[in-house]
């Protein structure tokens, strides 16, 4: 990354001092302030053209612009000292911005010099500041200030010592009998990224309704498949991580993606289709954010609630269609998600009076059948608030009895992958 030259630094600081002093002395409604802010915004853009971010850290009598220490003297030094005093009073250590803001957002930041009594955590200020972040902020705080996510609460129980993690990885590596330490570590991180990502964007979708970030989802799936190709055993080991109550959705979707990828690879699907299956698995339930809270409260549902839940695939499809007008592959993904619960066979009464299962034609797409099995297996073996996790053996037995909606050959495949004796 290029560093700022002297002219750019001087330009930015001159504009910053002018706008900050005007805000502090005469408030935000003067013509001079407006002009100074314009100049500061231009200087900020100038910085962005060289560097991908702007960080201004307030010291005792110096400032650091993108880590470059600046000490000013003379009239400029006096103005800086005054502004640093105000910042100190507001317990403000500085700000950082990684995206180009708009002028209103910059105004919200500079307003802190006019109103040092308003805390940096004020909800209105947090809303208006856009991409700006205060340097003093607790880094673990949710970016939207909406409280901790389910993963946050879960992470508080996690082991803090990275050395402990290394020991665990070594243990798994020994037990797996592979030299897959690095691969396992990589896959663990990719998986963690997937879980975190799904949890994060679903939490955000609930609040503000943005589109499903398909591009980033794709990157995660590419990484997962790369991981699978490097070391399938480590991949499957990671896919056995079970979610705990409270963060089911994110784990479930990531697990479905992993298991579906493994199943697809086992039946010889190529990279392209593994990608599609993985992406479907990762996103197959994003529509849950549009379900009423009472449906999502993880309890046994009444009949009408089950009917509403039956609309989940359509809610997911709506979300996916909002994200991107689908190409042929996108249509296939949507078909697969909608066909996951389609019947494979129906019972028909034959001439001799006996009932017999007759395959539905055309059968649901293979992608849907794989996803259905992967999702059902993960759902049943996961602990939920309203029931304990089912054992792998029991799950497979149960799924083998659900031949009308699950392809028994694929259920047996899962049993093989998971080393479950039928």
């Amino acid at each position: 990354m290029s560093s700022l030259d002297g002219q750019q630094i001087a330009g930015f600081m001159r504009a910053f001092l002018a706008a900050g002093s005007e805000a502090a002395d005469n408030g935000l409604r003067t013509e001079q302030y407006s002009q100074a802010l314009n100049a500061l915004y231009s200087a900020l853009l100038e910085v962005f053209t060289v560097s991908a971010h702007v960080e201004l850290r307030f010291g005792a009598d110096v400032v650091f612009l993108n880590q470059q220490k600046l000490r000013l003297s003379g009239a400029a030094g006096e103005r800086l000292t005054k502004l640093l005093g105000i910042a100190h009073q507001a317990q403000w250590e500085g700000f950082r911005c990684d995206e180009i803001p708009n002028e209103d957002q910059l105004t919200a930041v500079m307003a802190r010099f006019a109103r040092p009594d308003v805390p940096g955590t004020h909800p209105g200020l947090l809303r208006r500041r856009g991409p700006f972040r205060w340097l003093e902020e607790d880094q673990t705080e949710d970016a939207f200030g909406q409280g901790s996510s389910p993963l946050e609460s879960l992470s508080s129980q996690a082991l803090e010592h990275s050395s402990m993690r290394k020991v665990q990885i070594e243990e798994i590596q020994d037990a797996l009998g592979t030299q897959a330490g690095q691969a396992l570590e990589e896959i663990t991180f990719i998986y963690a990224r997937a879980v975190y990502f799904v949890d994060r964007f679903m939490a955000t979708m609930e609040a503000t309704g943005p589109r499903v970030p398909l591009d980033e989802s794709s990157r995660i799936i590419c990484d997962l498949i790369d991981g699978f190709e490097r070391d399938p055993k480590s991949f499957l080991a990671v896919s056995m991580a079970r979610p705990q109550a409270g963060n089911y959705d994110a784990f479930h979707q990531a697990n479905t993606a992993l298991l579906a990828i493994a199943m697809g690879a086992s039946v010889g699907l190529g990279r392209e289709l593994l990608f599609e299956i993985g992406l479907c698995g990762l996103l197959h339930q994003v529509g849950i954010v549009d379900m009423p809270d009472r449906i999502r409260s993880n309890r046994v549902l009444a009949k009408e609630e089950r009917e509403i839940l039956g609309q989940l695939p359509y809610c997911t499809v709506r979300r996916l269609l909002q994200a991107k007008g689908p190409d042929l592959q996108g249509m296939a993904r949507i078909n697969a998600i909608l066909s996951m619960k389609d019947k494979l066979a129906t019972k028909k009464k034959m001439a001799d009076g006996n009932a017999q299962w007759v395959p539905v034609k055309p059968a649901p797409p293979l992608m849907a059948r794989i996803l259905a099995v992967a999702a059902r297996y993960d759902a049943l073996t996961s602990e939920r608030e309203f029931r304990p996790a089912m054992s792998a053996e029991k799950t497979i037995q149960l799924m083998l009895r659900q031949g009308a909606t699950l392809d028994a050959r694929l259920v047996r495949l899962v049993a093989k992958l998971k080393n479950v004796t039928i």
């Binding site: 880094q139 946050e152 996690a158 037990a175 963690a192 990157r219 499957l236 797409p365």
Partner: protein, 541 residues
């Protein structure tokens, strides 16, 4: 050091790449120059790989670099392509020993359509490069430090590490050694899918269309209008690209089906979607991408009959790109009367060197069209076309514009020297049918030697007489083929017999066919007549 030795070759390759990109943009039809530049690019890179083993190109915002040396400027054509790749997160390209020209070409093709891929494929160019089997080209993409734009990158990393710890703990708790890869003979094919595992495009499209219609029906308040409209446009585009028109026709049918009683708003939304679908089927970009083969031509005609005037330009342009006789006939039949109002488009189409080979098929397929004055002006120019079949087809088309109101008019037109008028007369006879008309035509043909009609015109007249299927006509044709003189030999000449045969082939009835069978089997008919009959039947078959 090796990389430094490779630098001149890579610099040369990038100069050639610049030339190649400019050629593709400015002179896309200059195939020899493009091929030469393409080979030069590859050769430069191959030479560099020979020296250094592996080339690592650093993709940066302002340039691509090899060992710190910039290989192009920011605003050059190469700079724009690689700048876009940098923007999509590409940071390094590793070229390994064994790189083939096909791999490099595929890579260039992919990065050239970067914007299009970005719009269509999740993950854009990164996913496209990942999916493509390019074993000697490896790519490093920057990992985004944030997942959503609002995220704090450091926070994201910390949270991910936390989750990783949780996962590690979970995996450890599971105990190890359970996972293993499945073996066995289960494959996508044994599971009833295609060998690749996916579904045929037509089934994917039809399932998706059914979903959209369900969504339209469920959309009580129109909140899904935007996504449904976008998806509808995409159905058309993808159907054209896949060369499968049935899903579009099915979509039209479903949208035009009557809505449930009392659901007027839904009926309006359906109608709007149908209009939108029609518009999408006229989108020049989509139409140009149509890849359908012969089995789609009938459906194309049906589809075109449902579209508006907007269809004329893109589908005529399609024929310039794909000058295929069957496609030309399908388009002509589908566009039909709308061509009457598209004189300018038609003139461009008819005068294009690309369409010369399909003109006759196109014009012949306009069988029901009565040309408008504007169209007549356009067609007149083709009356002297070098291709006789085109001239014939044009004359036939023009003849439909000649006004004939009575049998007398038609009889008079037969005496005209103008083939267009002759055809108009014959058409009237054929349309009128009946014994009186047949007798008039027979009378004319009996004296045809005096009219100066050429052989082609006579062929048309006899074909017309046969098609009228009248007793008089049949008697006349039979007489030519069977009347003998005192010596027992046929009175008619072989030429006259061939004309009569043509009439009977055109009649295609039991009586005629029996007689034609006799022509084939009896020795009194010359080989010339039999050969002509065989050809006529072959054409008919």
């Amino acid at each position: 050091m090796a990389a430094i030795g490779a630098l001149p070759h890579v610099e040369e390759a990038f100069q050639e790449l610049e030339r190649l990109l400019n050629l593709r943009r400015n002179s896309p039809s200059n195939e020899p120059a493009i091929r030469a530049a393409r080979n030069a690019v590859y050769q430069g890179l191959a030479n560099a790989i020979d020296i250094s083993g592996t080339l690592v190109l650093d993709v940066e915002a302002d340039s691509t670099r090899l060992t710190g040396s910039a290989l192009h400027g920011k605003s050059s054509a190469v700079g724009q392509v690689f700048g876009a790749l940098f923007h999509h997160g590409l940071r390094k390209i590793r070229l390994h020993n064994g790189l083939t020209v096909e791999e490099w070409d595929r890579f260039l093709a992919l990065i050239s359509q970067g914007t299009e891929l970005q719009a269509e494929m999740p993950g854009g160019i990164a996913t496209a490069l990942w999916k493509e089997p390019l074993p000697h080209l490896l790519f490093d993409f920057a990992r985004r430090r944030r997942l959503l734009i609002e995220d704090d990158p450091d926070e994201v990393e910390r949270d991910q590490r936390r989750v990783a710890r949780i996962v590690t703990e979970m995996v450890a708790k599971q105990g190890a050694g359970h996972a293993r890869l499945a073996a066995g003979d289960l494959t996508a094919a044994t599971l009833g899918a295609t060998s690749m595992g996916g579904e045929p495009a037509i089934r994917t499209l039809e399932r998706f269309v059914a979903t959209l219609v369900e969504m339209v029906e469920a959309d009580e308040e129109g909140q899904d209008t935007e996504i449904l409209q976008r998806a509808t446009l995409n159905v058309a585009r993808e159907a054209f690209r896949a060369g499968e028109l049935r899903p579009i026709l099915r979509f039209f049918d479903l949208l035009k089906a009557p809505a449930e009683e009392g659901k007027r708003a839904q009926a309006i939304r359906r109608e709007r979607l149908a209009t939108l679908l029609g518009g999408a089927c006229c989108d020049p970009h989509s139409v140009a991408g149509f890849s359908g083969k012969e089995d789609q031509y009938d459906m194309l005609t049906t589809l075109l009959q449902q579209l508006g005037f907007d269809a004329v330009t893109p589908y005529l342009s399609l024929l310039e790109v794909r000058p295929e006789p069957g496609l030309a006939q399908a388009v002509a039949q589908g566009l039909g009367v709308r061509l009457n109002s598209a004189a300018a488009d038609l003139r461009t189409f008819l005068s294009s060197p690309a369409t010369t080979g399909i003109l006759s098929h196109f014009l012949e397929a306009l069988s029901e069209l009565e040309p408008s004055p504007q169209m007549i002006t356009v067609l007149e120019a083709l009356r002297t076309h070098q291709n006789l079949e085109v001239v014939e087809a044009v004359a036939d088309l023009l003849s439909r514009a000649v006004s004939v109101n009575s049998l007398e008019d038609a009889r008079r037109l037969l005496n005209s020297k103008d083939s267009t008028e002759q055809r108009a007369g014959l058409r009237f006879f054929r349309k009128a049918g009946g014994e009186r008309a047949a007798q008039t035509l027979v009378d004319f043909l009996n004296g045809a030697a005096d009219t100066g009609w050429d052989r082609l015109a006579l062929r048309r007249a006899y074909a017309c007489l046969g098609a009228m299927r009248s007793h008089h006509g049949h008697d006349h044709l039979k007489k030519i083929l069977t009347a003998t003189g005192l010596t027992g030999r046929l009175k008619s000449t072989a030429e006259e017999q061939i004309l009569a045969v043509r009439g009977l082939v055109s009649a295609d009835d039991r009586f005629g066919n029996e007689l034609l069978d006799a022509v084939m089997s009896e020795k009194q008919y010359s080989g010339k007549v039999r050969l002509a009959l065989t050809r006529m039947r072959g054409v008919k078959a």
